[in-house]
Structure formats: C-alpha cells, structure tokens
C-alpha cells in the first residue's frame, strides 16, 4: 500500500514539468497555429539557465530566485525568437513554420554545448527541501512533495489568466478566429508575441523546477518533446485541464511501468495513448475544431504534368552522366554519391507522403531506420544474403507503416503528425532497450554487401539504380490515377469521398507505400555503411527528411530529391566544422525566411521572372 502511494506521488511529481511544457505548447498552438518543435529546447534552456543562476545566487532565496529568473529569461528568449524569426513566416505555409522551429532546435543545441559543455550537469538540491519524508513507511523526497503542491498552483494561475483576464479572453478568441480579432482592433502581432513568450516561459519554468530531480543535459529537449506530444495528444490540444490530466496519467503509468515492467516503459505509455485515441480521437478533453489541419495553406498548386520530351532527354542525360561516375569520379566521390542517392530516395518518399497525400509525418525515420534494422537483423540473426535482405527491408518497413498507419490515421492534422513522431520514438526506444537482439546503443556492425557488390563502384551502381528506380516509381504513382485520387482526398476530403473514394484507405495505402520506399533506402544504407545504430530511428533523422522536403519545396514534384541531394552534400561539408548544427540551423532559418517556396519553387519563380 505504502509503495503504491509512494509511486503515485512520484508520478505526480514527474507530471509537474510535463504539464508546464505541454500547456505552453498547447497555448502557443492554439493562438499561432504553430506546433513549436523547439519547445523542448526552451525547457532545456530553462534548466541550464536555472543551473547557472543557482551557482551565483546564494541560499534559499537564490534557489527560488534562480527559478523565477530562468522563467523570465526563457520567456524573453521566446519573445525574441518570435519577433526575429516566426513573425517573418506566419504568412508562409504552416509547415514552413515548423521548419523554422527545427532551425531553432539546432541552434539551441549547439549554443548549449558551447556555453555549458558536453557533460551532464548535476542539479543542486533545493535548500530546506533536502531529504525525505516517510509516508506509510516509504521514503518520499521532500522536493517531490513541493512540486506536487506547486504544479496545481501554476495550473490554477494559468487557468485564471486564461479565463479571467482580457488577455486570456483575447487568446481564446484568437484561437477560434484570428482575423476577426484583428478586425475588432486587437494588434495580433503583440498577442502572438505575448502568447509565445508565455508558452516558452512555462517550458523554462518546467526545466528549472526539475533541476534538483534530474539536472541538465543536452538530450533533454528531445526526451521531453516525445512525452509532451503524447500528453498533448492524450489530453487534447488546447485544453489546460486536459494537459494536466494527461500529464498525471502518463507520468503515473510511467512510474508503475518502471517498477513492474522495466523493459517496456515507453510501450506502456503507448498502449495508454492508443487506447485513449481509439476511444476519443481528439484526446480526453480536446475538441475537434481546435485540432486544425496541418494542410497546405497558400495558393493551390498548378496541376502536375508529365515532363516534356526535352526535359526527359535532359534528365536522361544527367542520369547517364551520374551512372558513369565510377569512370571519372574519385573513390570519395563514389561514397558520397552513394549516400546522396540513398538519402534522396528517403527524402522523396516523405515528399510523396506530404506533397501527394498531404499527410505530414514527423516520424518518417521509423521506416527508414525500420528498413535498416530489418535488413541488419536478417543478416545477423537469420544469415540472410544481401539480396534477400534488400528485398525484405521495404516489405517489412511497409508492414510497419501499415500497422502504425492504422492507428495514426485515426487522427488527422497535428494529432497525426505527433502520433507518427511518438511511434518513431517508440521504435527507437525498443531498439535501444532490446540490446540482446538489436545491440542497443552499440548498434549492429559488420553488415557488408554480398561479394559481387562489395566494390565501391558496384555498390554505387546498385544503390543508384535502386534509388533512381524508387524515385521514378514514386513519381509514376503521382501521375497514376492513385496520385490523382490522393490529391483529391488531400484538397477536399468530403468531396473526394462523395465522388466515391475511400479517402482513409487511400491515405493508408500512401502511408504504407512511402514507408516501404523509405525502408528500401534504409536497407541500402545498412550495406553502404556496414552498420546501423539507433540514431537512424531518432527524431533528428525524421527532422532531416522534413527539412529536406521543405528546402526542396513541397509543392513541386522534384522537391524531395533535389532537396535531398543539396542537403546531404551540404551536411557532408558542414559536419567538418565543430558547430555544424548551429551553422545548419542558421542556413535553415535563412532559407525559411528568404526563400519560402523552397529551392525548386524559388528557382522556378526566378526563372519565370527572367524568361522573356
């Protein structure tokens, strides 16, 4: 009995930071319609800032003062980010704003590394709250009790702000109809800035408050992001009580998972999430209209047309030139070109999903890494030859997509996006925890191609043929009736349904197809590198693909592979620098603010301007 109570109390204490970050995310999304991916970064900044302040401020006053200052400081940083970056991209398609927040994540990661170094920082104990209290014989940290008391107070203050003040009324009004709020004389710019700053400040507060329990480290941003997405999906976007309820639920389930099923902590969380979604697709207390669609905003794209004969000739010649690379390229060029070809296929598969089906997946790495692990595991544990592994990798990844799609497609818009990310993260943690089979963080190494394909030249040609073949298949699907039906479902689901299309089945098929193609890329990747590690499944890999698709341009058919080629080549060059994430983040922000149509779109616009 005492143990169970102690565990519930630990869960409640864990829920504190989670609630603060989740409510901030939810608040920001409601008003600005931006899923702030960088929210985990603000949480991390709160922890680091708080830690530094606690080093200089003395005593009990110093501890709480540091938390207060971290709260304010992160709020200010949030305001700055909103004013300098996000304001410039509100008019752009919504997905571009996501990419802008990715850029912020990268920059914050490297800045934190520069300022605070790579070592985990141990959080100071809270003065006066060291030690434990015995409750029914079980030790409960005093600080946990303080957090349990504090969290509802923060929730209450937030609730009062939202329901009782003019600011809160305007925030709720803007959540429903921003344009109307503007027509009533409210300057939305400052409303957005204030909301964004408030949301970030909450994340910062969460980060600073959990210092005595977990300290600060450079992985905090992505770790909390997954849990927060789960909380928001379970609680319902835009609902403060929902966020609180879900934070408690997920945290308590997590604590019990650690004690009774330590191998499957995350899996248990997901079982809860899936169960809630089956029962209420918009979360416990969410409302359908708040969820919004992450669809393609902006002017409709021009209908796609098959490439002209001249274009086909040009592309054919370019492909022939690339296929002849072994004749004139250096060995290094061959290895780089192999990487680029594989990455282009991965990017093109996500691009198909986004561009044709309008499904924004935040977790496409699940299928890339899934394909990679499928191939590696087949070789390692079943002794499969490369040919068989390469054949099965896309099929297994496709099967994975079939399963994940079944659950994720019950939701739409941001919920769908968050679910895909959460599933990818589940897969990542499975691979990480199931070390006996997957090698855990050591990965699987020594997975080399068959002897006939062992030379760089032959493997390059093989990857090139399969990647180009895959990209052409994706392209063909876009031009096929399947592609037309998908775009119909994307642009107007009710009308497409009324025309006789089963829109959900179409999307499911597209999700599976794109997953299989990503799996093929993953399979090739394993043999190109001879190894696979869990980071092929992690959030950052999904983000890479998303960044690429937006760099290339969502609304252009070639955006995926063009962006992929430029990105992979660029990253190869950038990673030679110490702080390449910072540089990449700045490049991303630069492109997002200056060339919002992506590389292909911008090139087209420029071409249209020069052409007589």
């Amino acid at each position: 009995m005492g143990l169970i109570l102690a565990q519930i109390l630990t869960g409640l204490a864990n829920a504190g930071a989670l609630f603060m970050v989740a409510s901030g995310l939810s608040l920001i999304f409601g008003v600005t319609r931006i899923v702030n991916f960088a929210h985990g970064s603000f949480y991390m900044l709160g922890a680091y800032l708080g830690w530094s302040l606690m080093q200089v401020l003395p005593g009990s006053f110093g501890f709480w003062g540091a938390i207060l200052l971290a709260w304010l400081g992160v709020g200010l940083i949030g305001a700055l980010v909103e004013i300098v970056i996000l304001r410039r991209v509100y008019a752009a398609p919504e997905l571009f704003q996501l990419v802008a927040t990715f850029g912020v994540i990268l920059i914050v990661q490297d800045l934190a590394l520069m300022i605070w170094g790579p070592e985990d920082l141990l959080g100071p104990r809270a003065p006066g709250l060291r030690g434990v209290v015995r409750i029914l014989g079980e030790p409960v940290p005093k600080y946990d009790l303080a957090l349990i008391a504090l969290t509802p107070l923060v929730a209450l203050a937030l609730w009062a702000l939202i329901t009782r003040t003019r600011f809160g009324i305007l925030v709720r009004a803007a959540t429903q109809d921003r344009e109307m709020v503007g027509a009533l004389g409210v300057n939305q710019r400052w409303l957005f800035t204030a909301t964004f700053a408030l949301g970030c400040a909450l994340a910062g507060l969460g980060g600073a408050l959990q210092l005595p329990r977990g300290g600060a480290d450079l992985l905090m941003d992505f770790t909390i992001l997954t849990s927060v997405f789960v909380v928001v999906v379970v609680g319902g976007m835009g609902s403060l009580p929902g966020a609180y309820l879900a934070s408690v639920l997920i945290s308590v389930v997590g604590v019990f998972g650690v004690s009774y099923l330590p191998q499957s902590t995350l899996a248990l969380t997901f079982v809860v999430m899936v169960a809630v979604l089956m029962w209420r697709p918009f979360g416990l207390l969410g409302r359908e209209e708040v969820a919004g669609e992450l669809g393609q905003v902006g002017p409709p794209e021009d209908p796609i047309a098959p490439a002209s004969a001249r274009m086909r000739l040009l592309v054919g010649m370019a492909l022939a030139a690339l296929a002849a690379l072994p004749v004139y390229g250096s060995p290094f060029a061959l290895v780089l070109a192999t990487d680029i070809a594989i990455f282009c296929l991965f990017a093109a598969s996500l691009h198909f999903l986004l561009g044709q089906a309008g499904l924004v997946s935040f977790g496409h790495a699940a299928f890339y890494g899934g394909g990679a692990y499928a191939a590696a595991l087949l070789v390692r544990h079943a002794g499969a030859p490369m040919e068989l592994a390469l054949l099965l990798a896309p099929l297994i990844a496709g099967g994975l997509a079939l399963g994940i799609g079944f659950v994720a497609l019950r939701a739409s818009g941001v919920y769908f996006a968050m679910l895909t990310l959460a599933f990818a993260q589940l897969l990542w943690s499975l691979v990480w925890q199931w070390a006996g089979v997957t090698g855990g963080s050591d990965g699987l190494i020594g997975i080399w191609p068959a002897r006939w394909a062992d030379s760089n030249t032959v493997f390059y040609l093989l990857s090139f043929a399969l990647s180009v073949g895959g990209i052409l298949t994706l392209r063909h699907a876009a031009h096929a009736p399947f592609g037309y039906a998908l775009r119909a479902a994307r642009d107007n689901a009710p009308r497409a349904a009324a025309t006789g299309f089963d829109t959900r089945a179409l999307q499911w098929a597209a999700f599976t197809f794109a997953g299989a193609m990503a799996g093929l890329a993953g399979g090739l990747f394993v043999f190109a590198k001879g190894s696979v590690f869990p980071n092929e499944l992690e959030i950052a890999r999904s983000f890479d693909a998303l960044i690429v698709v937006f760099l290339g341009g969502v609304k252009t058919l070639s955006g995926g592979w063009v962006g992929g080629a430029v990105f992979e080549a660029g990253v190869d060059w950038l990673t030679r620098f110490d702080y390449w994430r910072l540089a990449l983040g700045l490049v991303v922000l630069f492109i997002v603010t200056l060339a919002p149509q992506g590389l292909v779109g911008t090139a087209r616009a420029l071409w249209a301007r020069v052409r007589p």
Binding site: I169, R172, G182, A183, G185, N187, Q188
Partner: protein
Amino acid sequence: MLEIAGAEVFYGKAQVLQGLSLRLGRGEVVALLGRNGAGKTTTLKAAMQMLPLARGSVRLNGQEITGWPAYRVARAGLGYVPEERRIFTQLTVRENLETGRQKPREGLPHWQEEALFELFPNLAERAEARGKALSGGEQQMLTIARTLMGNPACLLLDEPSEGIAPVIVTEMARAILRLKRAGLSILLSEQSLPFARAVADRVAVIDHGRVVFEGSFAELDAAPEVTARHLAV
C-alpha cells in the same frame, strides 16, 4: 466619412471588384444592394483592409487608410460586422463583448455593456451563456454589439437581416435606426429590398464589382430597369 475610390480586388486571378467607387456621408445610412456574388461582402472587407486592394484607395474621415492592418483601421473608428455571425462560440456573451472593447472616442457614444444590453435586451438575459448556445438572431445581435464596444464612428454591416427570424428582423431594423440617431454612419450590404428601404437613406446597386446605380429609393423606384437588370433573380 468613408470614401472608396476605384477599388480593384482579386481572388487569385479572378477580379471581384472592378474599380468600385462609393461615398458614405457623416450620419448617413447607405444600403449596398446586389445579387449573390456581385461583390458586396468583398466591398466591405476591402474597406476594412481585410482584403488587399490591387488598385484604388479607401479614406476614413479624410485619412488615407489603404494598406493599413485591419486592427489599425478598427482603432481609427471603422467597425466591421461580418456576415455569417463570426462570434466566438466558446466565449460567453460578456467575453465576446470584451474582445471588442476599445478606448472611448471624442464626440461619439461610449458604448458600455449596459447600453448594449438596453439596445439588444435579448443579450442581457443571456450574458453568461456561451456563444454557441445563442440563437441565430441573438448571435447576429452579439456580432453588432461586439463591434460597437469599439466605439466606431462608422459601421460596416454585412447582411444584418440574413437568416434570422422575421420578428428579430424588425428588432434589428429598429436597432440600426437607433444607431443612426446616435450619430453613426452605416454602410450595410443587403439582399432584402424591404429591409434596406426601412433603414437606409440612400441605395447603391452593385453588379460585377461596379456601382451601377446610386440614389434615393424614390429614384430607384423610378428606374425599374435597374431592378430588373441588376437585382431580379
């Protein structure tokens, strides 16, 4: 009071306003008549700067407001009441009113909740009800009251009589006349000629994004070809 000159507005490649010009005098009520798709709503939104003008200008009280953000236009004294009653459904009546609140304006009535509840007694009874619980007529009243909280000098009313019960239509007409007496200038779009006749001083008929007739109701009655050509369904 309000002067629209040579306004051209596009939706993508389709031109909706084709050089529309219109003048609203101080304390005047002008009804904008026209068929569905003639450009009535577009005219009001363009005046409010909620749609960008490709050409032409809008002046409010002699001041050029073309290209301003809508919130500045609202603060300059132009109030916009949208059609299809865009109230905030999750907010209570009182909270909806709060969203419209702006500073008082010199020489114009300073609207407070009490005065608005007197103007629309139905709203007073439902002050704490959420927007989504209101009837169509009540929602329409709330939309107007919410805009009045900004103490506008000039009101843009988009189809105030559309889709509400006949009893409420009479009440709506009475309210508009009271607003006129309080000194407001009003430009309203209408499909119902009887309603326009009941509240407006002058009428402007638009078709294909242009004003094709301007004058009194007597003049409109004397020109049956205008009604036949531009208004008859």
